[in-house]
Amino acid sequence: MRVSINWLREYIDLRLKREELEGLFSSMGFPPEEIIDWGDDLIFDLEVTPNRPDCLSHYGIAREASVFLDLPLRKIEFSLKESDEKANFPIEIRERSLCPKYVARIVEGVEVGPSPDWLVEKLEKMGLQSINSVVDLSNFLLYTIGHPTHVFDLDKLEGGIIVRRAEQGEKLLCLDGEERELSEEDLIIADHRRPVAIAGVIGGEASGVDFSTRRVLIESAYFDPVTVRKTSRRFALTTDASYRFERGADPMIQEFAADYLAYLISQVAGGRVLKGRLVAGGWKEERKIRTSFSFINSRIGQEVEREFIQKKLISLGAVVRVEGDTLEVIPPSWRRDLSIPEDLVEEVARFLGYGAIKGKLPPVEMPQGLKTPQRDLLWRIRNYLAGLGYSEAMTYIWTSIQADEFSGGRGVPLRIKNPVDKEMPLLRRSIILTLLDSVSLNLRMGRKGARLFEVGRVYWWEGEAKEEKRLAIVEAGEIKGRTWEEGPREASYYSLKGTVEALLDRFSLRPNFTLASHPLFEDGFSLSWEGLNLGVVKKQVLELYEIEVPVFAAEIPLSLFPMEIRREYEDLAKYPYVRRDISMTFPEQVKFQDVERALASLSIPILRNFRLIDLYQGKGIAPGRKSMTFSLEFRAGDRTLTSEEVDQQVKRIIAALERELSGELRK
């Protein structure tokens, strides 16, 4: 809302400097968005909050400032001369709940012409172009007292005014030159023949005032905010009028506004104001707020003087009755935002100045966040992965339909009706998909590789909306080595899998992976365990993201991780380890996991560690076979192991591997 300081000064004796004015508007709650130097005037563009339509005018701002500054407000005064002829034009309201009150006045014999300079200039300051004297005065009135009025060319109206809902199929050519098709949702002003205005939004072209107009009908009404807003939304049309009506007009100002506009027209465009107002409907104010001084003080948190509270409430226009501690407040009709005691608390706090309220901390009898296991878990995971060299990413949660087909997600995807990017309408069912976007961007921006992780959610529909928190890890391209000691290496499946294993081990999780088939990963190169999936991302998926290097990825539900810190502890070993390495060849198709399982089924309690330390195929090994070297560590908790005892177990292991997996010991 634009405010001219010179215009304000017509109602209040403001003697403030630019910075002081800025401060004043800020403390009202309307910080200036822009300040324009305009000759000897200053124009402030104020951000008026939607609860304060009463401040969408110069008089309204002056009224508010007068309460803040304890300055007198100059009332708008005029003396309207009516002719002897009585105004007469039928007005009928068919939708009393949508238009409780409609007031009109008639001015005859006007000579519509260009506006005088003072009027043109005022409207210019508001960013409006002059149209003609009568229309300009209606706009001037709006910026003066904030009430939207409309002026009809009475000679173009037939029979009378009817306020009703539009009928399906009715059309109206509006003042902005656009023809709009109306619906039953819209409240309109019609004459006895056709619609002439969309109530509270815009007038019709055919009944508008132009230079040939002689008789005008001034409309000053109250329209239901929700109806005006719906219509304005539907037509995507916000006018100065709709902006005010949808925020709530003053329901008691119609008579004053009609009189004042009639007066202004007669002064500027001449003509006779016919006797009497034409009124349909009416408004009864029933608001009354009962509260108490002690309530206001307790909500503010400090003692405010009763006189101050009372004085300010009265000066903002309320009727105040005090009985002991009790306050009964009838707010002024223009303050639609005041209806509960808390609203009065805000008024008192504002007039007191928020800065004058001394802050204090609320008493804490018992702190609440003593344990935050989920947060701590996430923090540990994040830091562990960073320690392994992965950067934390945060990605938008939308994917394309093509990408989602690979998500392997549950249910059906949730779909955004109005996405920012039409190509990306689905909420992700896999975080890996959205991380691929970041991998792709990094590669395009010249990075040779990327290792990223994200802690986030996936979303799907399964009769209801579902969300699951997950961790996703990806790696691709070149991985930096340890400076000059070790050159860069390529991202690899084993590196990614190792990261997952290390992370799980950090939380004492021992995965029992199975080879799995997952839409996101190449067949045969993917494992799963308890909702955890990892593998080599499919080439088709990478093509969607224009990634030309292999990408290895894992996605893990966070529910897999224990929230509590582990409490087990094993006493430090008193007896030494005995280590044996064995080298065996196996048929190519034997998997490491087969060996692990064979060993597990032997259940040898003294076998404490079992590691693969070499894998070899080629010279010296029969074709179709491969060699694996294992390191076996034995230890007992209660004695030093003898060589014989260990050898016996090693023999058992070798025998089992020979028997079950066609292993052969290498000599």
Binding site: E346, G369, N383, A386, S438, R447, A465
Partner: protein, 343 residues
Amino acid sequence: MPDEIEEIQQALEKAAREIKTPQDLQRFKEEFLSRKKGRITSLFKRIGSLPPGERSSFGKRVNQLRALAERLYTEAEENLREGRWKQQLQRAIPDPTLPGFYKKIPPLHPISEITHLIEEIFLRMGYDIEDGPEVESEYYNFDALNIPPHHPARQEQDTFFLEQGLILRTHTSPVQIRAMRRRKPPIRIIVPGRVYRRDEADPTHTPMFYQIEGLVVDRGISFAHLKGTLETFLKTLFGEETKVRFRPSYFPFTEPSAEVDISCPVCGGTDPHCSVCGGAGWIEILGSGMVHPQVLRAGGVDPEEYSGFAFGLGVDRISMLWRGISDIRNHYWNRLDFLEQMK
């Protein structure tokens, strides 16, 4: 005979200086210190043949000589060992100024770091951390927060609507309602999380960003408590010298409502061309207010008995202020060149 002691001493010192290898050392030992034929040993053997009057002083001198020889031997031995070690070192560290071996541990995402920092402050003030769904109903996101349909504050053009009749939450405030229904007062929580607004991405907007919601509900909670809490929080986060300003504002879910500004952390209001505050000296940092009684009721809390305050702040904005990041989109592009800087 004294001449011979001197002679041996000179030879001894010379030989010691010339020890360069373990063999030299061995030869030195044999020549001077050997118990069988060492030259010092042979001097001792001669003591008996001296006149009784000279024996004592001679013996003393020979003893001194032997002590010297032993000392020189030990020194030479140490030098020799030292020399070998140095050679090894020399091979291992040909240039002490070469870069060390290390792999950088990447920092966490700046949003994570700032969120953690803010959580920490509130945890110390006795708050708990809450959580809620991102796919929300319009009821929780709007209606329960006193934003009925067709309310001017119901920013429908900013909302992502889902075909399944739900929306992506536009703020973390719905968790206020969920938390009030789950917990009994006193309630002291913060809610960090992602929120979504249908904005085209530009340097100051992204369609997804992070908020932290705060909610306190108890008997006798006042606006002064809101002020004290946020002043404490902001001064802890931005520094004790930070000035905090509360301005009246409007949110449908709070009454009274306040917008909170801090003095510009970059220029402190002294630079009229400051790129962060634009010369205003103040930066809008969060929105807050006393919880509207309608909202308390929607959360199943009796507004006659309890009152509360709530606030919401944008983590991205704080991260940007913190680092001087000028383009918010950096937070979600995840360019490593950006992330690796966030130490």
